[in-house]
Symmetry: C2
Subunit: 157 residues, 2 copies
DNA sequence: CTCCGTGCAAAAGGTTTGCACTGGT
DNA sequence: ACCAGTGCAAACCTTTTGCACGGAG
């Protein structure tokens, strides 16, 4: 476990340094929430994080957990996973296909490519029986690319 | 557009036949909602579907839309897309990695395989600028597999 | 005719927002 | 000391649930 602890410690230091560089305050809440996420290996929801840190900061509010998680994602310290179930978006296609997702406007475009429909599935670990898969490509859609360029132009002008 | 219309018509007939086979009533609501999804190419939310069919069935309730969409997904007539944004699950990993998602208990397990981290990205269409990707493998986790087998045994016993 | 599906309304989450205060820099 | 971050409470939005009625098989 030393190796893992060391990694966490490194991430914490990286976080502190990042905050210092950006003038972002390093609060107790942020530290504890980040630690909680780093210690989790099961993709917790905001609410689960809240439950886990209640022992350490009993008076913390759910609101803060949401805000801090957002901040941490923004800083690139943690990732946001896309979980099915909370999805609630529907699709006429039922066959295998993939998606282009714009990280800016969240638009979702179907992406059908024969080449990606026969990936050599590696031996699934954990005894998982894989029946299908879908690839999400994250990026910038043309509209948001244009908008981003426009904004750059503005700042340089 | 004829080709597309024909496809939709085919799906509608398939739907009706499927319902007939299962003794599932073919209601106006189901038909209209299915048509709405088949006509959509933008991964609408339940609410967006609701808005789109309000013109055709003004007195329809949101509740019905949710229920019918669920039914249609269950029948395999439409798909459910996993959209980021409604996600709200967090992850200590910020590097490229993939997920095994259990379709039964919705558990989500990280899946790191070097072989899948350098997919030859095909030319992204629509001028989309891809910065990263993540693969979701859908299937049954060991626990749910065991549970399913147990149930089969029960029914056969 | 019998049931399932539907509509309404209300409940149940989960997430966001406004405002005053506390804590980090 | 200043400003951002936090806590509280309430708003908000999406989704689910209970019950009575109406339409489909």
């Amino acid at each position: 476990m030393d190796a893992h602890d060391t990694l966490v410690a490194q991430r914490m230091r990286a976080f502190e340094e990042l905050c210092r560089r950006q003038g972002t305050p390093v609060t107790v809440q942020r530290r504890v929430i980040l630690e909680a996420v780093l210690a989790s290996h099961d993709h917790p929801t905001a609410d689960q994080i809240y439950d886990r840190i209640c022992g350490r900061i009993p008076e913390i509010s759910r609101t803060t957990v949401y805000r801090v998680l957002d901040t941490l994602v923004g800083l690139g310290m943690i990732g946001r996973a896309h979980h099915p179930g909370s999805a609630a978006r529907f699709d006429a296609k039922t066959h295998r296909h993939h998606h282009l997702v714009c990280t800016s406007c969240r638009k979702m475009i179907d992406y059908e490519t024969p080449e990606l429909n026969d990936l050599p599935l590696p031996e699934p670990p954990f005894g998982f029986q894989v029946t299908d898969y879908s690839i999400q490509f994250m990026g910038l859609c043309p509209d948001c690319r244009a908008a981003a360029h426009g904004r750059e132009d503005d700042s340089s002008a």
